[in-house]
């Protein structure tokens, strides 16, 4: 379940980007009419208008929708052909979709257009699953290079890494899994955005994550 981020936040994240791809998702986000074809087109119009009024400039916006943004193969067929023409992708999927894209295109800014409120019931096939998103309700993937510390740092630290990090591995589970904060650091360093790394992230408002949760797609 996702909720559109406030427009001001989206515009702030777009910043000076000139060539944008708005990528919807026909999976969960599409089914519930939050990130499907129609929302992608509405978002395009909204951004074009806002950019012209607020910054007096034109942004080149491509749009597309993938069947399921949480599956890299689906994303690849749609995004690969155009990736060289865009500076950033605005994802209208959930926090998982953003991170799948961020892993596939580490040098491209992936902007979360949604706050993921929670993950509803979904059957998943067997195999390995990695938890990518805890649906925390205030997505900060923009600041963390498209890698979620809420779900992927064992302590959900917002200002890591902790002292338990060694050679990029996490103390939890015996230094076998990657430390999310070192991943974030490496990603941001590669993209020359360490300024985002050093940002102070204030204590989280956990009200958004309280369970049992309810959410109305019409903006509740």
């Amino acid at each position: 379940m996702v909720r559109k981020k406030p427009m001001d936040q989206i515009l702030a994240m777009i910043g000076e980007c000139k060539n944008l791809l708005i990528l919807g998702c026909d999976g969960c986000a599409g089914v519930y009419q939050e990130g499907g074809r129609k929302q992608v087109e509405l978002m395009k119009t909204a951004i074009e208008m806002a950019e012209e009024v607020k910054k007096g400039r034109k942004v080149n916006i491509l749009t597309d929708v993938v069947e399921r943004q949480c599956e890299s193969s689906f994303c690849a067929s749609v995004v690969n052909p155009v990736i060289h023409n865009v500076d950033a992708i605005l994802s209208l999927g959930c926090g998982v979709g953003v991170q799948v894209l961020a892993d596939m295109y580490p040098n491209t800014l992936i902007i979360p257009g949604h706050d993921t409120m929670f993950i509803g019931v979904e059957d998943r096939e067997s195999g390995m699953f990695h938890e990518l998103c805890k649906a925390c309700g205030s997505c900060l993937l923009y600041e963390t290079g498209g890698i979620c510390p809420v779900a992927r740092c064992a302590k959900s630290l917002l200002n890591g890494p902790c002292g338990g990090q060694s050679k990029g591995k996490c103390e939890v589970g015996g230094w076998k899994k990657d430390c999310a904060w070192v991943l974030i650091y490496n990603r941001l360093k590669d993209r020359e955005r360490l300024d985002l790394f050093t940002v102070f992230r204030a204590p989280k408002d956990f009200r958004e994550m309280q369970h049992p949760r309810e959410f109305s797609a019409s903006g509740g």
Binding site: S156, G160, G163, G168, V182, Y185, F200
Partner: protein, 302 residues
């Protein structure tokens, strides 16, 4: 810069080279060992850290021994607080209690994860992280309000310390994280144990720009068993071959007593070297259960 409220900060501000010690209240209701330890350290160190359920082992609440060593022994405490076991409400509650009991130093820590401790089934809290905890402390001490802006009557006056992973690899994210914390109101930094002067120097150079007093951590080896454990299970801690060799040989030569003497030499010399060649404002000596070595290391450091 926050005013110096504690003896520790007063001495650092006065330009003295300071020493701090460390005590660990373990799984017991007895304060006997902690008080004896504090007595041994008294006069040699300016303050003593009291650990808060270290490596996520469930021990006595650190606030009680922090208070009692100040009251009965007259040694200042550095009350260690982790965010692992308390949410922001419980943290505030303990902070106010600490203020009422005359605690002057708080070391804000994230705390090792519950899964590495002796109660791995526990639900970890991490409502705040050590950075947001520093932010909370600054609000209380400097502005007299809690995180939500609610007024705190007669706010406590603490100096706030943080820990640094001196052996961090990669080092840069650690430094950047320290920078983020320092900006929020940190008075001093205590580092994890270091055994290697070069590493310590590299770290001290990297944090120089933060302009915050650093106490470098030293942890002598109580026994060969402890050495083996450090080498095997504590990643990121590099004990040079030569040091390991000296401890092991001493053990063969003369058992526990010889190990102790060897430690005095190794760590006394290391302390002198760090004092001389780095811009550390002091050393943090972690010799839990064998505090008697601390005065001897300090003496040898000169």
């Amino acid at each position: 810069m926050r005013q110096a409220y504690s003896e520790l900060m007063k001495e650092i501000s006065a330009g003295k080279f300071v020493y701090t010690g460390e005590l660990e209240p373990v799984k017991t209701t007895s304060l006997k060992e902690v008080l004896e330890g504090a007595q041994t350290l008294k006069g040699h160190v300016v303050a003593v850290n009291v650990t808060d359920n270290p490596t996520a082992f469930a021990y006595m609440n650190a606030l009680i021994p922090s208070y009692v060593i100040q009251r009965d022994v007259g040694v200042e405490a550095v009350y260690q607080m982790t965010v692992r076991d308390r949410n922001r409400i419980a943290l505030l509650s303990d902070i106010l209690a600490a203020g009422a009991l005359g605690i002057k130093n708080i070391l804000a820590l994230s705390g090792d994860h519950t899964t590495v401790g002796d109660t791995p089934q526990a639900k970890p809290v991490y409502d705040l992280d050590s950075t947001t905890f520093v932010y909370m402390l600054s609000k209380i001490v400097d502005e007299g309000v809690d995180l939500n802006g609610n007024r705190v009557e007669e706010p406590p006056k603490f100096n706030v310390g943080i820990a640094a992973n001196i052996n961090a690899d990669p080092l840069e994210p650690e430094i950047l994280k320290l920078e983020r914390k320092v900006k929020l109101g940190v008075d001093f930094i205590q580092t994890q144990a270091v055994y290697d002067v070069e590493r310590a120097k590299r770290f001290m150079e990297a944090v120089d720009y933060l302009n915050t007093p650093v106490l470098i951590g030293l942890a002598p080896f109580r026994s060969v068993g402890m050495l083996d454990w450090m080498v095997k299970f504590v990643p990121g801690i590099a004990v040079p071959e030569e040091v390991q060799e000296r401890i092991r040989l001493a053990d063969k030569r003369g058992g526990k007593a010889a190990v102790l003497e060897e430690n005095v030499e190794i760590f006394g010399d290391l302390a002198r070297e760090l004092k001389k060649t780095t811009r550390a404002k002091g050393l943090h000596l972690m010799a839990i259960g064998f505090e008697h070595i601390v005065p001897r290391i300090i003496e040898r450091a000169g």
